[in-house]
Symmetry: C2
Subunit: 415 residues, 2 copies
């Protein structure tokens, strides 16, 4: 089964927005054992949409369409699809009612142009949107299913997985078994992981391994396919074990795990409390940890001590030490971690100080110099790094390293 | 002039690699005043490549092709293009010599499969690759130029700008002028903005307006096109002025502006200092402001006071007030903003406290209840909100509201 993907929007053809829906959908289709005939991206234009639909229908067994379902005049996908397929539009009363209820619930005033989002081509099935406003719809065109969803990635992602995949599955008589596992690593480049795995026998029939860099992480997606469910699962298990044997030091999680979620779970399980003193990461470590529901159980406080005064007042770092070694130094990083731990009365203190740039570097401490310190009941450790990224990426990788240091301490890994 | 983009690679149609070339090329074409007819992505497959070429040639004045020029067996783009256009392949001696020299210089052993990268369709012009190995080539198909480049983004980017743009320029006598402005709004939904603009005359020839929701913001992109540069710019200006007339309260910036960047610029200009006390936003406000280079000039400190103790110790909020009104209350929000401002000795204090969920709500204060307070030399104001989003979106919209309150204070808007 080969599926065509049509993504629609002037923001895509102008390059203003990176189309991430098509690669997400392609990955999901791939995981189902289906192929992609082609991806076409066109603007919000009746003829371009029509041409793309016709071309893809000619080379595909099914179509996925995203984008152009919003309330404004430039969103014309529903009307274009109806017109290409020679169908009239109708207003779905149940969807209209649901739309108005959603607006009420979200406290958004209803305006009449939104009624457009309750209009569908005759004979369409509705695809619910559990995370947004606009519903999608599905049609059949000469026994080929066509599913149409909004372009907002979080909505399209959820609707595709929950609504479209089951719909497409129903259309296929032959059902392949598929098992998939994402192995999430941090601390090794893609090419070094590739090299580490090159001596391992990973050529198992029906199993493929994909590399997905997600800065600063590298994810490995292992997909196992075949007719026999037990074989499929055994092959997946064996492959993952072989990968784990080579990469265990760099694996922090699987599937939906996040670095902050893993750290939060360990802290919660062990009933340990944490406080954080950030300088160059600017609150990002605390922001990430507080994305985890229930983080108030272990997180006592975070402080972003951007000024020297705040390092003295909130962390008890002596100003003489700052003057002598500089705010970006091993000495200050250690005193920040120890100070926040002591003053917050927590089990663990975590700190960062560095130069995220673009200005502020010196010969001895160039832009990208970062110190990360971890203070626990067993003492305080500090590591120094030099990154060549831009400001945001320096913040991201520094926050990741800090969380990973904490994770390794919690699982008893020393390195 | 409408240009078609064909990107080729199994890594793209499997979703393993995000195709960034097409959006880069689209942006560059757009900047030249040219449009994109469609983007097609296909795998390394002769028929899929042929189909994509044919379709795009039918709807475009020129084609850009990337991917599949490497030395390995799965790279078949050159052969596929030659076959589709009925051309033989030849080995270019000069390119072969240059290739061998490049391998020498990079200390990579030469293997015979690399000779494939010196093969081109008869009549092709060579497009030099100053940053990689594989050269590209150009052909004409019924007076339409077709440029083919490798898929490595850094190589395709350089070759496109240096080699392809000048090539395409030579082919075109008529050059359209294009002017564009992005208007960034916060505080009104897409449909209410649409409605607000519906009574305004925005039907100006050659001008289009696109809506781009970027939670929690809505961006309006105004594009003006035409033959006369002065007209194009005047039409853009008039349209923007009409939009501004209706939406000025909700416009916080233009083009590359960010909310945090705008706030940071105002604070820096007026030499005002800021401290931040965050509870439900968990460090996100501070994280956003510290993404702006130079933020250390105005940002004295941020504190994430997740525990009641930290609100007492770091902000001087009396525990009796927390006990009486609850940590999520107008009283506490106000004392947090005033406390951080006083203790940090800054001109301005900003605070948030709320229930980001999914747990922790009560009847009187359900999940999504958020208080944002701003304390300045003119006093302290606090606003209460109720959001129905998930945890992350509650953090995002709360941080945006806090920054927007600060922005409005800085420009003297009261609401």
């Amino acid at each position: 089964m080969n599926i065509g993907i049509l993504t629609i929007g002037n923001e895509l053809t102008s390059g203003m927005t990176q189309d991430t829906n098509s690669s997400f959908i392609a990955r999901e289709l791939h995981a189902q054992g289906w192929g992609v005939s082609a991806v076409i991206t066109v603007g919000d234009d009746r003829d371009a949409i029509g041409g793309g639909l016709d071309y893809l229908l000619g080379i595909s067994d099914a179509l996925v369409v995203t984008g152009g379902l919003g309330p404004t005049a430039d969103d014309i996908t529903t009307a274009a699809v109806a017109s290409v397929f020679g169908l009239d539009l109708y207003t779905d009363g149940a969807v209209l009612k649901q739309l108005k209820e959603r607006f009420d619930r979200l406290n958004i005033p209803w305006t009449e142009n939104n009624a457009k989002q309750a209009m569908f081509p005759e004979g369409a099935g509705i695809i619910d949107n559990p995370v947004g406003i606009a519903c999608g719809f599905s049609l059949e065109r000469g026994s080929k299913p066509v599913a149409v969803m909004p372009g907002v990635p979080v909505e399209a992602g959820k609707m595709f997985s929950d609504g479209v995949i089951p719909l497409f599955r129903d259309k296929i008589s032959y059902r392949e078994h598929i098992a998939k596992r994402t192995i999430k690593t941090f601390g090794r480049t893609e090419s070094r992981i590739d090299q580490a795995l090159s001596h391992e026998n990973l050529e198992i029939p029906g199993v493929s391994i994909g590399f997905y860099p997600r800065f600063p992480e590298i994810h490995l997606v292992v997909t196992s396919r075949g007719e026999d469910r037990n074989n499929v699962e055994a092959n997946l298990r064996v492959t993952c074990e072989r990968i784990e044997g080579k990469l265990h030091r760099y694996i922090f999680g699987y599937d939906d795990d996040t670095m902050e979620g893993v750290v939060a779970a360990f802290l919660t399980d062990r009933e340990l409390t944490l406080s954080i003193a950030e300088s160059c990461t600017g609150g990002l470590i605390t922001d990430r940890l507080t994305d985890v529901p229930g983080s108030s159980v272990f997180l006592e406080r975070g402080v972003v001590t951007y000024s020297n005064t705040s390092k003295v007042e909130l962390l008890g770092v002596p100003s003489s030490i700052i003057e002598k070694h500089g705010a970006v130094s091993e000495e200050v990083a250690i005193l920040m971690a120890e100070g926040v731990k002591r003053l917050a009365g927590t089990d663990i203190g975590l700190s960062t100080t560095g130069i995220a740039g673009p200005a502020g570097g010196t010969g001895g401490k160039p832009v990208g110099t970062v110190f990360v310190a971890l203070s626990t009941g067993e003492g305080t450790t500090c590591r120094r790094f030099l990154f060549r990224w831009d400001r945001r990426r320096i913040k991201e990788i520094s926050s990741q390293i800090a969380l990973n240091m904490l994770r390794k301490f919690l699982i008893g890994v020393v390195d």
